[in-house]
Symmetry: C2
Subunit: 190 residues, 2 copies
């Protein structure tokens, strides 16, 4: 079986000092591109709501990541004068270039599945018991995804194509999980 390149290291940016951009960085850059100038808190809501929910980022990291990207010159930072003095970030031209470069460069990397329940299965966990719990969870999740998809599809909203596709990917995997656990749960145990 082929080794999966899991330890993807730094993205080195031609021409820029030495910014190590992780997926988190691109999520921040990408979200700001989509919604315009934003505070870390805006990003948090956006991420929750929209659909980076297939790749969640804890809110505390949004703060530090914004600061870092600003430090690297990929975002500009501006503090509000008013009471809260929140930091508002926006893309710099360099940030936009970095995002575009990343986005347009297809990668042959494969991700591992890394599902805890499958790990338990691997190490001898009882298929029927694992399946019962997992099936319920995946069915719920599938339902949530489908509802979200329906909501985004109605009318002529201007939902970016990528959002729908990503959601559809999620839906496909949920279905696959359901198929898998259905089979695994009832196969003869010997």
């Amino acid at each position: 079986m082929v080794r999966l390149g899991r330890y993807v290291p730094y993205a080195t940016l031609a021409g820029v000092s030495s910014p190590r951009l992780t997926e988190t960085s691109y999520i921040v850059l990408g979200l700001i591109e989509q919604i315009g100038p934003a505070t870390p808190y805006d990003l948090k809501r956006m991420a929750q709501l929209s659909t980076v929910n297939f790749w969640s980022v804890p809110h505390t990291q949004l703060y530090t990541e914004c600061a870092r990207l600003a430090n690297e010159g990929l975002l500009s930072e501006h503090r509000e004068e008013a009471g809260r003095r929140r930091r508002v970030y926006r893309l710099t031209p360099g940030g936009r270039r970095a995002l575009e470069r990343w986005r347009s460069e297809p990668s042959g990397e494969l991700e591992e599945v890394r599902d805890v329940s499958i790990l338990k299965l691997f190490f001898g966990g009882d298929p029927a018991e694992l399946a019962a719990t997992q099936l319920e969870a995946h069915r719920r999740q599938l339902k949530a995804c489908e509802e979200m998809h329906a909501k985004l599809s109605v009318g002529e909203q201007d939902v970016p194509r990528g959002w729908l596709l990503a959601l559809e990917a999620g839906i496909g995997h949920e279905r696959e999980f359901i198929r898998f656990w259905s089979r695994a749960g009832k196969a003869e145990s010997r």
Copy 2:
């Protein structure tokens, strides 16, 4: 869309001081259970070869993890007298209990997909280009999985049931990825 519990924290072990067991810990415990007393290097080979390849662990971590588990009393450590003086680890009763508890406790956690290419798609990457590269990679990976599965299935080898199931899960997901990218790659771009 439902929030996925991604930040699964510590597994607290009733009765034991304060061992924080991660998935890596259970991989180590589980592998040692399967192959008996082993050095970190044995674990590395085992992990590579067998099938924890759907959840890889870098070899350096096997060393530190073994040391930590020994420290927590879940493994016992014994140094060879001979030249290499390698450390050989084996399960203690406590370690075995911890493993069994973990394994038999089904969890409703869901994993996120976290696929970089889908992330690029989400942020506006070109479906056709991404699909081309991903399709090739997934096809190759699928082939490798299937070959491995065939190899493990022939004859009356005593391959643990979990190994086959985990492999089958991987195969299912690879097929799903292929379905997805096939569709995404050729859908009308507007």
